[in-house]
Amino acid sequence: MITSQPLSLSKRWQILQLETQTELLKTLRSPGFVIPSLAFPLMFYVFFGLLFNAMAGQPGQAAKYLMATYAVFGAIGPALFSFGADVATDKDKGILSLKQVSPMPIGSYFAARIITAMLFALVIILSLFALGAAFGSVTMTRTQWISTLITVLFGTLPFCAIGLYIGLSVSAKAAPAVVNLIYLPMAFLSGLWVPIQLFPSTLEMAANIFPAYHLAQLALAIQGNSLGAPWYLHAGVLVVYTLVFLSLCVNRFNAIDNRH
């Protein structure tokens, strides 16, 4: 018979690895999620970033601008869905409760989801980079490419927190609809689909409430295309969003029970 012992670091690492692996396998085995979440940002970018770019006759400019905003659009999707829809399912099915009563450190569950969402974001961002460089004549310095990648990847964190709050708050049935209801209008109003400069000034002001706007501005600042507010304001808003939603999640999380 066993006695209890604290989990060693290597054991924790093993749990995180297996959680992540299982999460990835589960996701890859549901093509209904994988294909749209990869295809939509790429498809939109081809239509708006590349085809319009070719017509406008200014090689590279629109393609570069929209490459950053579609990277944001593509990266926050998996974060919102992985946390919003999937956590809601795990919560409703009692899978989350079962993990809570098991001796696993619950942080691994969330860390695995963050890694999965980021891996998806990575694939989307790199595909957009490839499209932009190959067909949009996008040129940036190496530092700019790398900074854009890292900024957008880590910029998914506030969206993980928002997704988590949705996932813990609504039922599994409602979650995808709620996520879409937030994701798609926010993407448009934050200027991810068409440049924010084309908006009337009231809408441009209103965009300030959306975290996606601030992440897009951060990514655009790297290529010198932001509206000009200092980067730390945008970063600060994203940090505040993350902290506020995480603290909201704590209460929700403690209120989960397995009695339906």
Partner: protein, 311 residues
């Protein structure tokens, strides 16, 4: 070993309310090493609330829950327990072996995957995806996940709900094998047959209180007696008046009397010229014992409120 003499779980005067409803009212119980305990009760009796408090999911309003010498929900307690929750389901798109390997990683001294698969009768199904399993097979996978950590105590909350007779029998085999290995099991059920077939000790819960506990035979003995069953043109109210120290029910055409002194009571009926057509006298089953115990524990004003809480 010294530790073997201590109870694995001791619950002392546990009470838990949800709003105005008292889901668990002053429950005390212990679970000893190597014993199978069944918590038996209807929906709303407080079984799952008790389990929830034991697992640290719910905070007790009063009383204490000590599990392996730790407060409920402590990691050291969790490492020595395996759990099957009542409403837990499995994720889709995961293979049996993958799900089991994941849960094995949570425990410091887990069983081998082969061993757990065999104990849950899943060896041939290990490469199947979860959504292709039948209800019974899914329950057995959840069971395998509960025992993978080589636990000293396994908690099974309504493990056979919704299973057909064959699947239930298969599941029972798994539980018996687990008990034979020396683990303690706390099982909740509203199948009386199940508690009788599997457990060393039955604790009957009704409306949040323990109304009886003991070995299955003891519970029957506590009620002690026979069931008289007959048809009559006398109403059961009249029969109840004639036999004030018994419990009289009307079941369709029949009147049923639970009697601790069947001979005396039958004499009383005959003396009063009550017709007793198709009269049978039989020993009472656990089911009858259970019904009798829980019905007598219901006070009229608490009955309505308690309908709302799930067990």
């Amino acid at each position: 070993m010294q530790a073997d003499h201590k109870p694995l779980v001791s619950i002392n005067h546990l009470s838990k309310r949800f709003g105005k409803v008292c889901a668990v009212d002053d429950i005390s119980l212990t679970i000893q090493p190597n014993e199978v305990v069944a918590l038996l009760g209807e929906n709303g009796a407080g079984k799952t609330t008790t389990i929830g408090s034991l697992l640290g999911q719910l905070k007790a309003d009063s009383g204490e829950v000590i599990v392996f010498g730790h407060p409920a929900g402590h990691w050291a307690a969790k490492q020595q327990m395996g759990v099957m929750l009542q409403s837990a389901a499995l994720p889709d798109n995961v293979k049996v072996i993958e799900q089991l390997r994941l849960f094995a990683s949570y425990y410091p001294n887990s069983l081998s995957l082969e061993d757990a698969l065999e104990k849950a009768l899943l060896t041939d199904l290990q490469q199947r995806k979860v959504q292709t399993l039948s209800g019974g097979q899914k329950q057995r996978l959840l069971f395998a996940m509960a025992i993978i950590g080589n636990p000293r105590l396994v908690i099974l909350d309504e493990p056979t709900v919704g299973l057909d007779a064959t699947a239930r029998r298969e599941f029972w085999r798994c539980i018996r094998a687990l008990a034979a290995r020396g683990a303690s099991v706390l099982l909740t059920t509203h199948y009386l047959e199940e508690a009788d077939a599997l457990s060393d000790r039955i604790i009957v819960l009704s409306k949040g209180r323990i109304v009886a506990q003991g070995v299955p035979e003891q519970i029957k003995a506590e009620l002690g007696g026979k069931r008289l069953r007959f048809r009559s043109n006398t109403s059961h109210e009249v029969v109840q008046k004639l036999l004030p120290d018994t419990k009289v029910h009307s079941r369709g055409d029949y009147i049923e009397v639970y009697s601790t002194a069947p001979q005396t009571h039958l004499m009383a009926l005959f003396d009063a010229d009550v017709t007793t057509l198709d009269l049978t006298v039989s020993g009472i089953s656990l089911e009858d014992a259970f019904l009798h115990l829980t019905q007598s524990a219901v006070s009229p004003n608490s009955a309505v409120n308690n309908q709302e809480i799930s067990s």
